[in-house]
């Protein structure tokens, strides 16, 4: 019982700063997610239309290289280039999440049966009508599952962004390690998990809605 009352005590004293950490965390994660989606999905689509196999291969290689760099190392590399704080954290996390979403978008677009595309062409769809009414809706399950997985990763990686002074729940965890404060570590972790679950839930709802157009 002691533990619980102590924990409530902790929350009532610190809730303002805890919420600040959480807000910071969400701002970083959501910025990365939005940039990733808006850059990677169109890029993935563009790559399916690209005839040149060499350029395509090269792009996947580059995305792959970012993915293989350990997260901490990638964040560290950002310091000499972009300094510390929000921007380098966002850039590093973006580079890191490039590949999973790119790969899913590409696979989703490739999964559309060429006969369906031919049927759409033959019925008189223009390029963009075809993209938005046929290809994207059909690739949607792949793209959305890519977005969901990537989002969950990003929220968890954002915890590391505290290492280069970007703040977020990582700060809470690091401080907890410093002070040897279990509550801090636990709170930071549990909140990161909850954000991830919540976002996954919302995206799941969105996917259902979109696929019913």
């Amino acid at each position: 019982m002691h533990v619980l009352t102590d924990y409530f005590q902790f929350w009532s004293e610190k809730y303002a700063s805890i919420l600040d950490y959480m807000t910071e965390h969400m701002i970083i994660s959501f910025t990365v997610i939005i940039i990733t989606v808006f850059v990677t999905v169109p890029l993935g689509i563009y790559m399916t239309k690209l005839k040149n196999e060499k350029i395509k291969g090269l792009m996947f290689h580059i995305a792959n290289i970012f993915q293989t760099i350990p997260t901490i190392a990638l964040l560290a590399i950002m310091i000499p280039i972009l300094g510390i704080g929000f921007t380098p954290a966002v850039v590093a996390l973006f580079l890191y999440s490039l590949l999973p979403l790119l790969r899913n978008t590409y696979a989703g677009m490739q999964s559309v049966d060429p006969e369906i595309i031919e049927a759409a062409k033959g019925m008189g769809f223009g390029t963009f009508e075809r993209l938005f009414k046929i290809e994207l809706p059909m690739a949607l399950p792949y793209v959305m599952s890519g977005i969901r997985v990537t989002s969950v990763y990003i929220i968890s990686w954002t915890t590391l962004a505290a290492l280069i002074g970007a703040g977020g729940l990582g700060d809470l965890v690091l401080a907890g390690i410093g002070y040897n404060d279990k509550f801090m570590i636990f709170t930071g972790t549990i909140l990161a998990i909850m954000i991830a679950i919540f976002l996954d839930f919302i995206l799941g709802k969105m996917e259902k809605k979109l696929s019913k157009v």
Binding site: D113, E115, I116, E118, A119, A120, K121, G122, M123, G124, F125, G126, E129, I134, P137, M138, L140, S211
Partner: protein, 372 residues
Amino acid sequence: MIELKNIDKVYEDGFQALKNINIAFEDGKINVLIGPSGCGKTTTMKLINRLVDYTDGQILFDGENIKQMNPIELRRKIGFVIQNIGLFPHMTIYNNVATVPKLLRWDRQKIRARVKELLHMVNLDPKTYMNRYPSELSGGQKQRIGVIRALAAEPSTILMDEPFSALDPISREQLQDELIRLQREINKTIIFVTHDMDEALKIADQIILMKDGHIVQKGTPQEILENPANDFVKEFIGEKRLGRRELPALAELIRTPFISTLDDSSTEHAIEQMLKHQVATIPVMEKNGKYVGTVNLYDALSNKDKQLTDLLDPSVIPINEIDKTEDVLRHMKQGKDTIPVLSSDQNMIGLLDQTKLFHVLHEMTGGECGVK
């Protein structure tokens, strides 16, 4: 009318898929492209809605060169049923059928009415099927939807690439019948690809038989069956169908014995004979068996006092026993019920058994049509 003039098609990899193709697809006709796999049927069809570009020649759509037309507008004017149907899996049946009307920005009410009308036309209840997805339909139902989707925006021309190929024989027959019925109702120009000769013979106004990228023969089913251009055509049609089309020799169609009268008997007697045997005409012969002519009951009754030989009906023309049955058919257009058959030396052999002939014709055409 769509005209293909001296069309060549060489694919990017250098493969020549079509060689000097000349076809005229007439308005309101069902044109069937047929031939072995890989002979260029689909390629020919896709030339028309510009999914494939030809490398040489010219295609005219109602006299206008299709290269001068906007491909997207052209495609919206031409219904298209692709090989393997190609329904959009993420759209309801309603939205699938409404595709082209929506692209053309028809009024909502008009689209709704049109979709319902089309579903009724192929015997699918709109209430039940409109909101289903393609995966919730049987193969035959999907093919029906594929066909009406192509009809939705009332195109004057419809391209159909093996639309019934994946069906069991019964549904296939049904859809063929529906297509023929539809064609009569809505009078479209249909270009239909198949490699099933029975299907082609059944539905076609014009058959275009292809092989290795060129046209081997084109014509009506009748023409192709009667005059196959070469062994390839014969083989493709199949001995069975060719054999079945051959009419029996005239000798098998002669009716003996027959009622006749001699040229020296009285008119009274001839009338008696005709009444007794309930016939309206009677051939007149000499004692030695030579044919003199034919007298009909009407002339005889009104000229009882005249000689039989004065009453001969000039419109009855006898045929010769060595004539071909096909020629005899043509001859029969006069519609006489008595056609005497003579030997080369003018002896009367018997009468043409018309009942038997019609029976044979009926069997040959599967009981569907009479003599063309």
